[in-house]
């Protein structure tokens, strides 16, 4: 054992859908220094113990985005996740393929669903045909314009966010964090000529299914902060189109609702989001809840200082240049 090396017990997901009836976990132990990344541990296993272990990697420098895996349930790049802290916290390292994409073999997934979602919402530069970009000169952007999307070009499309996302897991109509972050990038790109269309279209293409759980931002190795870009998209979509979808009606309804009494009227909020007809559909559910929590049926009394709340709303709406 090298000086400073620790014992690293690994539990590695193994599955060959063509031959295995079910996945299994193979255990290996390698000796490594704590700063060595999980990818190196896996490569050592492959070189010294089991040459059939299948994994995908290339640059080993957190640039190519090939080696994203689940490491002790966290979606991470294997090449920049050191073994030491994982052993300290868990006593072992469980390595599994990324979630939300079918396993081809062992740790390699088919990224088809990830790229399908990306292609579907077209996060590519679409210049305005009326103002074509010059072919023989660079298109310039001000530092302020670039500042608006400084995070998103860092994305290396590793799909860690897609793997970590519970909305992707539960609903095939959600585009996923990366696709939306990339879309944001072109919505605020001054060279793009389809901003308004993009914002209108994305409202019915899954934007409002983001849960705001920030698991993508937590998983992202490049600090693109997809959940925050999705929040920006929602704000811009409401600014362009108003509250037309259930998601935007709920957001705007919340804001208007508080204005009335300075506190939330939950029953009214449901009506603002779903309309009266939608509410009737939820009546059975509503009755069960109201029976246990009858105070929800009462219209809340305006708080002391409600007039001031109203004034604050008015000032903020004026600042935006309209209601």
């Amino acid at each position: 054992m090298a000086a400073g090396a620790i014992s690293v017990p690994l539990e590695v997901y193994r599955f060959d859908p063509a031959h295995d009836p079910a996945p299994r976990y193979d255990r290996y132990t390698v000796e490594l220094e704590p700063h060595v990344p999980v990818l190196s541990a896996l490569l050592k296993v492959r070189a010294e113990i089991d040459p059939t272990l299948t994994l995908r990697y290339s640059c080993r420098s957190a640039i190519c985005g090939s080696c994203a895996l689940q490491i002790n349930s966290k979606s991470r790049l294997a090449c920049e996740t050191p073994v030491g802290p994982e052993i300290e916290r868990h006593g072992r390292i469980v390595v599994e393929p990324m979630r939300n994409q079918p396993v081809l073999r062992d740790l390699v997934v088919d990224q088809g669903p990830f790229w399908h979602q990306y292609d579907r919402i077209d996060p590519h530069l679409r210049p305005d045909p009326a103002h074509p970009m010059p072919v023989d000169a660079p298109t310039s952007m001000s530092p302020e314009q670039v500042e608006r999307f400084k995070e998103t070009p860092r994305c290396i499309a590793c799909a860690a966010c897609f793997s970590a996302c519970p909305a992707v897991e539960a609903d095939p109509t959600f585009p996923g964090p990366m696709a939306l972050a990339k879309l944001y990038r072109f919505v605020v790109d001054p060279r793009d000529g389809t901003t308004q269309d993009r914002l209108v279209r994305i409202q019915t293409e899954g934007l409002w299914l983001c849960l705001r759980c920030h698991l993508c931002t937590e998983a992202c190795p490049k600090d693109v902060r997809p959940s925050e870009r999705i929040r920006d998209l929602k704000e811009m979509a409401i600014a362009v189109q108003g509250a037309t979808e259930r998601g935007s009606r709920h957001a705007v309804g919340f804001k208007e609702n508080i204005r009335v009494a300075g506190t939330l009227n939950e029953t009214r909020l449901v009506r603002q989001t779903d309309g009266v007809v939608g509410m009737v559909g939820q009546l059975g559910q509503g009755l069960r809840i109201w029976r246990k929590k009858p105070e929800l049926l009462h219209r809340p009394k305006p708080i002391q200082g409600q007039a001031e709340v109203d004034q604050i709303y008015e000032a903020l709406d004026d600042a935006k240049g309209g209601p």
Binding site: A167, A170, C210, E245, R288, I312, A319
Partner: protein, 212 residues
Amino acid sequence: MLTLANLRMNDPGVRAKVDGALKPLGIEYRGTVRVKHLLRVLVEDIGIPALRAKVRRPLGGLKIGAFYGCHLLRPSDEMGWESGEEPHAFEDLLDALGAEPVAYRGRVMCCGFPIQFVKPETASRIAGRQIADAQDHGAHAMATPCPLCHISLDAYQNEASRAVGRPLAMPVFHLPQVVGLALGASPEELGLARHLVPTEPALARISAPART
């Protein structure tokens, strides 16, 4: 959310907007009110040893799946306390109360509530997965510091069960309720009758004798 609002106050543009709205009322806000969640106060300010000493009715025998709620943890670099994916404060607290915390992946996941009014069937599928995960890992109950998670996990558990196509029977406590129970408060005082999923089966699991 209030922690993040405070952070946004560091942006000069946001601050100017807030100033503009508050000035006519003679109010000023500089973003300096310290925001701290009850869970954090319990663990950091009161502390695990002090809490342990106050327990009158240890929750021994009761296996609880802690369910953190996203906004208590993430984005972790802005919330600035626990790991966003591998926290332990709530489990430490449950342990101090005599309960047995259950390890399961769903504990840091989303409850589905944010899209309950956007697409209920997807929201319920997400809630159902986390409840089923806790159930499969032996939890007799779940506990959450987030009132919206509580709505999703308790009030909508019927829908969650239907969405994942399997029976679920998981009492869900609010954080103050589990603390209250261990400190000797009665189920009536804690409003346990107001839950949609009955909590009696979980209470019946408590086997440790009360201390006087």
